[in-house]
């Protein structure tokens, strides 16, 4: 295994106090006060607190989307064999129509409804007189056309306001058609970001889908991978490792997934959580109800991948699997090291920043560290405090009005299906120092003085670019052309700039090459970056090699 690439003689990051003051000075007092709590100078020793998952201030241009986007777009969008019907006017369905690059492999005969965008396309009369009949008819039509195993309904803003009861329509249609039909009350105005939609999606899938099929599938070991969405084919890379290890991957939530797998997903021996933010709810609920333990994994970064694979083999306490894991790591690291040797002269010592998602801004720091790059600033778009500071803050989280409006399911132990042997196994491993239900968050792994910004705005991004002069900025398509006007390349970590996969060892190599190309392209020298007009803050960087 490769040595950790972070240098022991790592430079001290500059103190960003000055730039924070400059950022806040532009805001009206109330806004400045609010934002100051979400802009934090990291100190791994002090354990600073970040204000997260609070409302975006109107008029501040945000990266965030809405509840519907989190529910339909993120969590349920990648499942190929549920016909998704957007109940509302046309925009929402259109904008979430296969825009996230979730790949899927239905096989030669398999069903795949992901390329279809069904909407009730509500008109004036539906808003006035109600849209339940139209919805019922749309469900019948979807059934007639595809004869699917399940149909899901996603509510947009006006639905809750006009009082359409999507859940009773779902119930009626379920009885009429004899297939699973379920609705999500994921109106856009709920919660403070797409995060609310993740929670709503988790709840409904758990209550209406998980546990419907008790068949014990083949294989010595069965697992689920939660929070992996198969952007750019990430899940395809990971599936191969599990296959090699003799592990039956029952369900991935929700990249390359099928509803049949969700129905069966409570029968596994272990839940592995990739994106903690979007999917931890199902992991928690599955443990309470069925006794399936979960732990956090990360397959972004070669070393992180190696670490996660080892953790899995240790969980199963299987010597053969442990040997196989070492074999895979040894084999793959050869290629990884070769690639690193090529890119490092171009990447080492350069600065990166990333503002994306609810876990990507953390996971991708691993890849940059491997390339010898420094993450000077990072933040999430829609995460909560536990994603920054670790799950130990969960008992102290303030429950505000926005969170209270999102239902918490009252989950009870299912006496018949509960797997006591898994709970016992977990207890035994815990005694040996093995950690479960664990996520320490982004901040403990970031350096002192790194700048953490939750729900970053346009203005804030501008100022920190001026301050740090990064070699690369990672965010999404909405930010891409803004940042590039500054003469800084932007790597999209939502859609991968139409590239990928970036997961696992193979993915890491793809990422190294892509970043190396981006940070060394000569085109950027043709653009005049803002700091080229201003004196460089020499003092700030005097000790640093960059």
């Amino acid at each position: 295994m490769a040595k950790k690439t972070t240098k022991t003689s790592s430079p001290v990051l500059p103190d960003p106090t000055e730039i924070i003051e400059e950022i806040l000075a532009k805001y009206p007092n109330k806004v400045a006060k609010k934002r100051s709590k979400s802009i934090v100078i990291n100190d791994p020793e002090e354990k600073s607190e970040v204000q997260a998952n609070v409302r975006t201030i109107p008029g501040i241009i945000t990266q965030r989307g809405c509840c519907y986007a989190g529910c339909k777009g993120v969590v349920l969008g990648p499942t190929r064999d549920i016909v998704n019907i957007t109940h509302g006017p046309i925009g929402c369905g259109f904008y979430s129509w296969l825009t996230r690059r979730n790949q899927t492999d239905p096989g030669p005969e398999g069903e795949n409804y992901m390329p279809y965008c069904f909407s009730t396309d509500m008109q004036d009369s539906n808003i006035v007189f109600g849209g339940e009949k139209k919805l019922a008819q749309a469900i019948r039509e979807a059934y007639q056309i595809f004869n699917p195993h399940a149909i899901a309904i996603f509510s947009t803003c006006p639905i809750g306001l006009i009082g359409d009861d999507v859940h009773s329509v779902a119930k009626e249609m379920k009885a009429e058609l004899g297939i699973n039909v379920f609705g999500f009350s994921c109106e856009g105005y709920k919660g403070v970001s797409q995060s609310a939609g993740h929670h709503i999606a988790n709840n409904k899938i758990f209550s209406n889908v998980v546990g419907l099929d008790d068949t014990i599938r083949d294989g010595k070991y069965r697992v689920n991978l939660l929070g992996e969405y198969n952007i750019g084919g990430d899940a395809f890379v990971l599936e191969k490792y599990f296959e090699e290890l003799g592990i039956n991957l029952v369900a991935t939530y929700s990249g390359n997934s099928s509803i049949h797998d969700f129905e069966n997903s409570h029968t596994v021996d272990l839940n592995m959580v990739m994106c903690h933010r979007s999917i931890n709810y199902i992991a928690e609920m599955m443990e309470i109800k069925y006794g399936v333990p979960w732990f956090k994994v990360n397959f972004i970064g070669a070393e992180a991948t190696a670490k996660s694979l080892r953790k899995i083999a240790e969980y199963f306490e299987d010597e053969e699997m442990k040997a196989k894991v070492e074999e895979i790591i040894a084999r793959e690291m050869l290629e990884v090291e070769k690639a690193l040797k090529e890119v490092k002269p171009k990447t080492e010592g350069k600065l990166a920043m990333m503002f994306v998602g609810g876990s990507r801004a953390h996971h991708y720091q691993e890849l940059f560290t491997e390339m010898g790059m420094e993450t000077v600033s990072a933040g999430y778009e829609f995460a909560h405090r536990d994603d920054y500071e670790g799950r130990h803050v969960l008992p102290n989280l303030k429950v505000d009005a926005d969170s209270r409006n999102i239902e918490e399911l009252d989950v009870q132990k299912d006496e018949a299906k509960y797997r006591q042997e898994l709970a016992d196994k977990k207890a035994g491993l815990v005694e040996k120092g093995y950690t479960f239900s664990d996520y320490d968050g982004m901040m403990p792994e970031m350096k002192k003085n790194a700048l953490v910004i939750d729900d970053i705005s346009h203005w804030e991004a501008e100022k920190i670019i001026e301050f740090y002069k990064p070699a690369i900025f990672c965010a999404g398509i909405k930010e891409k052309y803004v940042i590039q006007k500054y003469g800084v390349p932007l790597k999209q970590l939502h859609s991968y700039d139409y590239g990928g996969p970036y997961a696992g060892f193979k993915g890491a190599i793809n990422f190294y090459n892509e970043i190396s190309r981006m940070v060394s392209a000569t085109i950027w020298s043709k653009l005049k970056a803002p700091w080229k007009n201003e004196p460089v803050l020499v003092g700030k960087f005097a000790d640093a090699p960059y």
Binding site: P58, F118, D124, P158, Y189, K528
Partner: protein
């Protein structure tokens, strides 16, 4: 000879793969065409995020749109407070000359009174030097993105235009076309020595050159003063036949209330003579546009355009063997579909299917009354989606599709080429630079269509001739 035109309606209640986007998207683009304007979408922040996402992937440029970020509380008790905060924050951060607010299904469903909210805001901040604040009503359950665009252009003039002293200038309302089209229209105006004000003008603001330093608000756009003075112009030229008329079709309340275009509004209110003609695509439609310009300017068509027109006719002749008898499927906004249809009829291509997600009911009478020389019957589907299109297309034996990126999957299934025009185009580079209008734009379309047909023939030939 009049063609056999059949009008089909969708057999489905659900919309399956929509051939339209929502009206606040069109509104946001129209606002972007006003100088130093920042749009605010009054609704959930998801609307602004989704719409920015979509516009940015088409134009590949920064596209700031603010949101009043409705929470659950605002959805119940009203969004006035949120909108006030949004306006104040935008003024503070951007120092805009104008703020353009459009509504959404959310704010319209709860009945937000934008006139009241804005006048309250102005009263509260009476001592400050406020930017202009205008609004347009664009619930996504009425009409399409094209309706939202034209409704917003109308709202801009209705909100700002004031009759004072006459100006030696015409208003040009260009429609939902590409930045390259807008630049070309401006060139034409200048060549006719016409003083004009193009409303809106997003030719720069969504297709910027690289900058030496970042601009919070991109350059370009129609100055607010010109929108105000639009009442004083001596004439307006409006490109389109349908505009925001689909808006009315969606309504159940106030159906009788007339939907006016910007040009119609200025004519009825301020006697600014309005000249409407369709999007200038094809020889005849462009001739009509140039006739209007000749009359308004008193100048003959500049020689440059005579030549472009001549070359285009020459290309029609030379390319006839490639185009004649080929069957095309076209789709998109209603005005684009009408323009493409009239152009293709001139080339010998038969449009066998014209589909739009719009619902003004105007396409059929317009196409039925124009002389068509097609051999094949034509099916018109308005208020249709891509799955309706695919169902009908199966048996048509079409040779080519012309429209936006969303129809690609059907072209792929039918194994025929797709020539990308209109909006959205996110699977090809340079969407903002596609020319559609005037002789020059038509020439480019003609060449692209002819080449697509030739390429198809070449690739599907057993021999692989390179001399075609």
């Amino acid at each position: 000879m009049l063609r056999n035109i059949e009008h089909k309606k969708s057999e489905y209640t659900a919309t399956r793969n929509a051939c339209k986007l929502c009206s606040p998207l069109g509104a946001s683009l129209a606002y972007k065409g006003i100088k130093a304007c920042v749009p605010i979408i009054h609704g959930s922040q998801g609307c602004a995020t989704y719409i920015r996402r979509y516009l940015i992937s088409h134009y590949r440029e920064p596209f700031d749109i603010a949101s009043s970020s409705f929470s659950e509380e605002a959805a119940v008790f009203g969004g006035q407070k949120n909108l006030n905060i949004a306006i104040s924050n935008i003024i503070e951060q951007y120092k805009p000359e104008i703020i353009g607010i459009c509504t959404t299904c959310l704010s319209e469903t709860i009945g937000e009174d934008l006139n009241m909210i804005i006048s309250d805001y102005k009263a509260k901040h009476a001592s400050e030097d406020l930017p202009e604040i205008v609004h347009s009503s664009t619930p996504s359950y009425q009409g399409t993105h094209a309706d939202g665009f034209h409704e917003t252009v109308k709202s801009l003039v209705a909100g700002l235009a004031k009759k004072t002293e006459p100006v030696d200038r015409i208003n040009l309302f260009s429609g939902f076309v590409s930045p390259a089209d807008l630049r070309h229209l401006k060139e034409i105006m200048a060549d006719f020595s016409l003083n004009f004000s193009m409303i809106p003008d997003y030719s720069e603001s969504v297709d910027n050159p690289n900058w030496s330093e970042y601009k919070r608000i991109p350059d370009g756009g129609t100055p607010v003063s010109e929108v105000i003075e639009s009442a004083n112009a001596y004439a307006s030229v409006e490109l389109g036949y349908v505009f925001n008329k689909g808006y009315k079709a969606g309504r159940i309340k106030n159906k009788s209330q007339e939907v006016q275009t910007a040009g119609e509004y200025l004519e009825s209110k301020f006697n600014v003579i309005n000249h409407q003609t369709g999007l200038p695509i094809g020889i005849k439609e462009t001739d009509k546009f140039f006739d209007i310009l000749e009359k308004l300017s008193g100048n003959p068509m500049p020689g440059k355009y005579e030549k472009e027109r001549g070359r285009l006719i020459d290309a029609y002749v030379d390319g006839h063997k490639i185009m004649f008898g080929k069957k095309a499927i076209i789709y998109g906004e209603e005005d684009l579909v009408i323009g493409l249809s009239k152009f293709l009829a001139e080339t010998g291509i038969d449009v066998v299917l014209a589909v739009t997600g719009g619902n003004s009911g105007k396409i059929k009478p317009i196409l039925a009354n124009s002389n068509q020389n097609g051999q094949e019957p034509m099916t018109i589907g308005d208020d249709m989606d891509f799955e309706d299109l695919a169902d009908i297309a199966k048996d048509l034996g079409a040779n080519i599709m012309i429209g936006n990126s969303k129809g690609y999957y059907i072209a792929r299934e039918l194994k025929i080429p797709l020539v990308r025009v209109g909006f959205p185009v996110h699977d090809r580079f340079g969407a903002q630079r596609i020319h559609h209008l005037s002789y020059r734009g038509t020439q480019e379309l003609f060449d692209r269509i002819a080449n697509a047909l030739m390429e198809y023939k070449q690739e599907n030939s057993a021999v692989g001739y390179k001399y075609l």
